[in-house]
């Protein structure tokens, strides 16, 4: 107690020096300057991925679905004199003779796009409901929490597989189903963190003022639970990404001929047995993005956790 009092209150009530106020851009710049190298690495990798995803149409040498040559041409990495490298295809071709590099670039757009949409939707659903039940409590909270418990009790991947086979594997279904399943976790998290905020006097003050449910949620609670939610967003994003890849690998995810890293790994998996590195390119793309996102999330978590480094 006295720790806070001593440091938080500046002395002498009305004349105490207060912390200088900074604009938002100054704050962001200050934060960036202090970011560790891992966070910088993560941010650079993510920007590169986004760059490729956005400008896929311009950057890719060929069309997404174009069949250009023989199947399974080797990449420069695997080529030897018995099995020469075709300079037209840097990373070789896939099982139908499509250019791997082109597919990889288009894959960024599809895979990341779908992952972002899914994560955003799951946070929209889970976050909103999680905060609402903490304000409302009572039977609404019970009902939602038990329903979420039921959903969480079923193994996620198997449940997703089942639902996708029932409703059909379209991209929309994929996004909605994974988002709903993931929303259960987000619900739990946002409910837990909002619970600590909702008991604050300022929320009570808003209730006493007669504010509506959504106003309280939007203005009083969400701004205060943003840091853990944003951190969780980064992590969830990776998990969604892995789920989609896993589903694509199992054949119910993104359907051909749409390029997507998960299905690219699956389609070329047999090559691994011949010592070819081709399936490792999309797999590596997934791994690198996951690592990059996690670096950034770690940094953000550390920054917002309020831990002060020992000097």
């Amino acid at each position: 107690m006295s720790t806070e009092t001593d440091q938080g209150y500046s002395a002498a009530g009305e004349v105490g020096a207060v912390r200088a106020r900074r604009t938002m851009s100054e704050n962001i710049w200050r934060g960036l300057k202090k970011a560790p190298p891992t966070a910088w690495f993560g941010m650079i990798v993510i920007s590169l991925y986004l760059f490729f995803a956005i400008f896929a149409g311009i950057l890719a040498p060929y069309g997404e679905e174009e069949v250009l040559g023989a199947a399974y041409l080797p990449s420069w990495f695997d080529a030897d004199k018995d099995f020469p490298w075709d300079p037209r295809f840097l990373l070789g071709t896939d099982q139908l003779g499509r250019d791997m590099l082109t597919r990889l670039i288009y894959g960024a757009r599809n895979t990341i796009g779908i992952a972002v949409a899914t994560t955003a939707l799951s946070f929209g659903i889970g976050g909103t409901l999680g905060v609402l039940v903490t304000i409302q409590r009572g039977w609404f909270d019970q009902l939602m929490s038990r329903f979420v418990d039921v959903l969480m009790a079923i193994p996620g991947l198997i449940f997703a597989l089942m639902l996708l086979s029932i409703f059909g594997s379209t991209v929309t279904n994929l996004i909605i189903i994974i988002a709903v399943l993931d929303a259960t976790r987000v619900f739990r998290l946002s409910r837990a963190v909002a619970m600590n905020v909702v008991v604050m006097d300022y929320v009570e003050a808003a209730k006493l003022r007669g504010e509506g449910l959504f106003w309280i949620m939007r203005k009083e609670i969400i701004p205060n639970i943003m840091p853990p939610l944003v951190a969780e967003f980064g992590l969830r994003f990776c998990f969604v990404f892995l789920t989609i890849s896993a589903l694509s690998f199992l054949g119910v995810g993104i359907q051909p001929p749409t390029a997507d890293w998960g299905s690219m790994v699956r389609e070329n998996a047999t090559l691994i047995t011949y010592g070819s590195a081709t399936p490792l390119f999309p797999a590596g793309a997934i791994a690198l993005l996951t690592v990059a996102v996690n670096f950034v999330v770690d940094w953000f978590l550390h920054k917002t956790s309020g831990l002060r480094d020992e000097h």
Partner: protein, 554 residues
């Protein structure tokens, strides 16, 4: 102090135990090192109690910890020497220093509830440091702890150690923590605001117990507090700190009688505020025969009837658990009562918050104890004060801004505060913003729930003066919930004394504060520390004579 000839463990009284010379401490924030303590000297003899007072931010706690050779994370002891019983605490290794902590130097923190591990019995925690420093074997330590419990006047000293922290009251826990500090018979104990979180009635017992035990074992102590009356009872000498500098050093009686520095004088003069009581027949708020409970269980309020005259201040006093805050929750509609009504301007208010009209909500506003948690840390002053203006009065744009500035000026702040966040304000400024937020709704009644108890005395006085001025200018009615009798004397017209969920009495200030009293009122009033260093002795003597009319919840 006394010269009781008790077990001294071979300690001489009077030799120098702790000597701090020219200590500089810095804290790290905003990428810079800021000075916290600027060259303070401390000399403490064995068996002596030094009071350390000052406002928050004066560096009291930091200096107290430095006496252990310890600096909080984010702080560092930059220079100076700290000699403890011939050892230089700055020079010895971390391991050696750790061996001293708990065995020869002990620390008693403000919140005992936070300092005890809820999963272990009191006994294990009390003797932990004695065991881990290998001072005595377990059975002996337990026997010793029981003696300490008895010396601290804990009920059932033989068995209380086998309870868990949640099974004893706050005052008992604070005393158990003193026992924990004493268990290894340290040479020095640092008390950091040990009674600030307690009720006045409990505080008296804890103070007496602490002083006794320190005296018995010839332990030296540093007593950190912002309550002058408390320090007057405890300390042999007093050090006044401000902004990390020593303002004045003197022994207690000299300091109380003739403070030298102007700053010390202002500290002493704070409790001089007094409001002439006025009556008013026009009742704005009436609570009639209210019974209330949380979740339908035990009644926390029973037959509570309170009348609040318009434009006056009614103070509700009582110790914690007496139902003061619950009464406020019933009035605001947060806790619908089981039976009874709340009348506002003669009309009954709907019991539940959600059934009340915007107009009814607007008329009764609330100010909270902790200004920190009463304001959203992500909202600027503009948002905080502006919202009720927008919500109730429908102000927008320039009109809204003008009104916000007008309110800021009313609470003696200026336009420059409008874009600040609560974290960029001092404690007193925060509470002022909360007052402005309540005023923005143009209410008839403001409920003030312990609004000054988290503040320093000088800041307190400023806030109370402001509240009085606003009452005069705007004819606002206050329902003032507090346990601090000095505050009550300063601002109330009428007083309601509550005890265990019921109203003991209600009446004009002069009647309640003057004899004859009902027993509880007397206990409550007599427990308020006075600035007289003999107050505690006299009180204890008087109570012993009368054989305790009514034992406090201790």
């Amino acid at each position: 102090m006394s010269t009781k000839n008790q077990q001294k463990h071979g300690r001489e009284k009077g030799s120098v135990l702790l000597e701090m010379r020219d200590v500089y401490i810095e804290g790290y924030s905003d990428d810079k090192w800021h000075p916290i303590i600027n060259g303070v000297d401390v000399t403490l003899h064995r068996g002596e109690i030094m009071g350390m007072i000052g406002e928050s931010g004066a560096g009291k706690s930091t200096l107290g910890l430095a006496a252990m050779g310890f600096a909080r994370p984010g702080c560092k002891i930059k220079s100076g020497s700290i000699m403890f019983d011939g050892m230089d605490l700055m020079a010895i290794s971390e391991t050696e220093r750790r061996a001293l902590h708990g065995s020869r130097i002990a620390y008693v923190a403000q919140s005992a509830a936070a300092a005890f591990n809820p999963a272990h019995q009191l006994m294990n925690q009390t003797i932990e440091s004695a065991l881990s420093h290998g001072i005595m074997p377990k059975t002996e330590a337990e026997e010793d702890a029981k003696k300490l419990f008895a010396a601290l006047q804990l009920p059932d000293p033989d068995n209380i150690g086998y309870r868990y922290p949640h099974q004893v009251s706050g005052g008992q826990l604070q005393r158990a923590m003193t026992a924990m500090a004493m268990s290894s018979r340290p040479d020095l104990i640092i008390f950091d605001e040990p009674t600030t979180a307690l009720d006045v009635t409990t505080q008296v017992e804890v103070l007496a117990a602490m002083r006794d035990i320190v005296d018995q074992f010839h332990t030296a102590a540093i007593y950190i507090t912002h309550d002058l009356a408390v320090v007057a009872q405890m300390a042999d000498k007093i050090k006044v700190l401000r902004y990390g500098n020593t303002i004045e050093d003197a022994d207690t009686r000299t300091m109380l009688k003739e403070p030298k520095e102007d700053y010390t004088k202002t500290l002493w003069a704070v409790r001089s505020l007094y409001k002439e009581e006025q009556a008013n027949e026009d009742v704005v708020l009436r609570i009639h025969d209210v019974d209330a409970s949380y979740g339908g269980g035990v009644k926390v309020l029973e037959d509570v009837t309170i009348q609040v005259p318009r434009g006056r201040t009614v103070a509700i006093v009582g110790e914690s658990g007496s139902g003061k805050s619950t009464t406020a929750r019933v009035i605001t509609g947060l806790l619908p009562p089981m039976s009874g009504e709340v009348y506002f301007n003669g009309q009954p208010l709907p019991p539940a918050l959600k059934d009340r009209s915007k107009e009814q909500l607007q008329r009764i506003q609330m100010i909270y104890q902790m200004a920190d948690t009463a304001m959203n840390p992500r909202h600027t002053v503009r948002d905080i004060i502006g919202r009720p203006l927008e919500f109730y009065l429908g102000l927008r744009g320039a009109a809204l801004d003008n009104k916000i500035v007008e309110l800021l000026e009313l609470i003696e702040l200026d336009e420059s505060f409008i874009d600040r966040l609560p974290g960029e304000l001092s404690g007193g400024q925060k509470q002022r913003i909360c007052i402005a937020r309540a005023l923005a709704a143009e209410p008839d009644v403001i409920i003030c729930d312990e609004v000054t108890s988290a503040l320093d005395q000088i800041v307190q006085e400023g806030i109370l003066k402001l509240l009085l001025r606003l009452q005069e200018e705007l004819n606002i009615t206050y329902l003032f919930i507090t346990h601090d009798i000095a505050t009550v004397e300063a601002i109330s017209d009428e007083i309601v004394v509550m005890f265990q969920g019921g109203v003991v009495e209600q009446g004009p200030k002069t009647k309640i504060l003057n004899a004859p009293f009902p027993p509880y009122t007397e206990l409550l009033l007599s427990s308020v520390p006075q600035m007289d260093p003999d107050w505690l002795d006299n009180l204890l003597a008087a109570r012993a004579k009368k054989g305790d009319v009514m034992k406090a919840s201790g």
